[in-house]
Amino acid sequence: MAKAGDFVLPDIDLVFAHDANRPHPVDVLEEELGFVDVFDRERVLLLLDHYVSPTESIANLHRRLRTFAAEKHVRLFEVGRGISHQVLPEEGFVAPGMLIVGADSHTCTFGALNAMGFGAGSLDVAAAMGTGKMWLRVPTSIRVLVRGEWPAGVFSKDLVLFLIGQFGAGGATYRSVEVEGPAIRELSVDARMTIANMGIEMGAKAWLMPADAVVLNYLAGRARYPVRPIEPDHDAEYESVHEVGIDGLVPQVSLPHAVDNVLPVTEVVGRPIQQVVIGTCTNARSEDLKIAARILAGRHVHPDVRLFVVPASQRVLESALRTGVVEALAKAGAILGTPGCNGCVGGTHYAVPSDGVHMVTTANRNFKGRTGNPNAFIYLASPATAAASAIEGKLADPRPYFQ
């Protein structure tokens, strides 16, 4: 048994890269590491998720990745198919007990399905593609127990923003964070992925949530790999244990320009905003869009506000079409985008704010310049807070919409 602090070289169950990696891991694999093939074509994946409107150079990168996938017989998810952190779980590539390496820091999202997801740079990812291995130092663990009833209008995003505010941006660096408890068991997989997604925003190396009935039900008929739930040892040692009660939790907002700059929405309501994005790997799943549609149905986006809605995947879009969510959003004046990462990082060249714009987004980062313009101001919030703010043209508390 490995203990915290040990160095290990485990087998990796799945490795993936996307179209925003520089240098690209497939180039590093062939040119810098000298591999002619991947270690296992069933365990290496590529996704074209960041750039749904390719420029000339990106179009040629996409061509290079398509050619690589065809030559090595690895699976590639095309433009418009959706964001890696949504597509891989919904297509059954993520199962409890797996070790997954992704060329994206939000790979920790898979902790919601009781899998260890590690974000890594191009060399580590390329080495994992070539050898099927990545060295790791076994982290110490932090345990967070969440109890209480979810108040109306308060969601998993509010919980994770609250936790980041408490721990700070580096509060879990090098640690694994285990989040569990009765209030977590109440949540859908969609809602849990929002929490695990933001683990990296407190520096966590990995994030783990329990493989309970909700998770096992999600995986039934979906998982492509063996389901091997992992649980803490009975005598597990934790660096610290924290209990959080959510009965009194109010919607939370991260203020510019730091994710851990968190305040209750009640302290910032009324600040004018000009743009809202409901999208990204944090909060653009079916449940998120349903919550937004519920608030926006029969209402209209404020005339001073642009509301961009970008589903996390094509399947999420299909579901939103079937359930009337798209119709409600469109009638309310939302601008619908192609499924993918657009609207999150500035490099996607989508919904880039102008100088002086204050925007609310359901994303995970609000660094200065994150959405493409360092002269804009980014607030992070739940889809409910984002939708309510889009209607009112100012930062708004969504709870009245749930009464």
């Binding site: 990106i58 890594a120 740079g121 060295w135 500035g346 060249h349």
Partner: protein
């Protein structure tokens, strides 16, 4: 790494806490430019416009807590090296950036950076693990790298390490207990 390369000398270029990889190199340039050299003029642009033009070869980047937080973009480590900086010294690092820097053969070291001012003359001895502030006349010990990372750095990065040992060297020595 040769004897002379073990001592890095240069001026301190001081930044604060939580310098994330978006600040090091913004994604809007990452999507346009495929060549790391072409990204150099944009290093730290969103928080310190014009910084790139002021870097003298060998300058040492000095920061506070949680340097390199945020995205996993390895280009952040590559572009700092390409810009002429010789190392990053910080009180703590975000783990993905820390791995990436070692993997590309770029020295990153944890050390108490408090009291270092912009332009201080620094001397970093990588062999003895000592940081010397020539302007303020003090020495501080830098944290030693874990053996695995030290070996990768000494080999010149992960690519050179894997080629030299035909795989991960430490696998053969029983480090794998997973």
């Amino acid at each position: 790494m040769t004897e002379t390369e073990n001592v890095l000398m240069g001026s301190a270029r001081v930044f604060g806490d939580n310098i994330n990889t978006d600040y090091i190199i913004a994604s809007k340039y990452k999507s346009k430019v495929m060549d790391v050299t072409a990204l150099v003029p944009h290093v730290m642009e969103d928080i310190r416009p014009g910084f790139a033009a002021t870097i003298a070869p060998g300058d040492l980047l000095v920061a506070g807590e949680n340097f390199g937080s945020g995205s996993s973009r390895e280009i952040a480590a590559r572009v700092l090296r390409e810009a002429g900086l010789s190392a990053v010294l910080a009180r703590s690092f975000a783990r993905i950036f820390f791995r990436n820097a070692i993997n590309v053969g770029f020295p990153v070291l944890e050390v108490d950076t408090r009291g270092i001012e912009e332009g201080d003359r620094l001397e970093l001895d990588l062999s003895s693990g000592v940081l010397r502030n020539m302007t303020r006349h003090w020495d501080r010990a830098v944290a030693t790298l874990p053996p695995v990372m030290l070996e990768i750095l000494r080999d010149g990065g992960l690519a050179a390490h894997l080629r030299k040992h035909r795989g991960f060297a430490f696998a053969a020595r029983g480090v794998n207990r997973g």
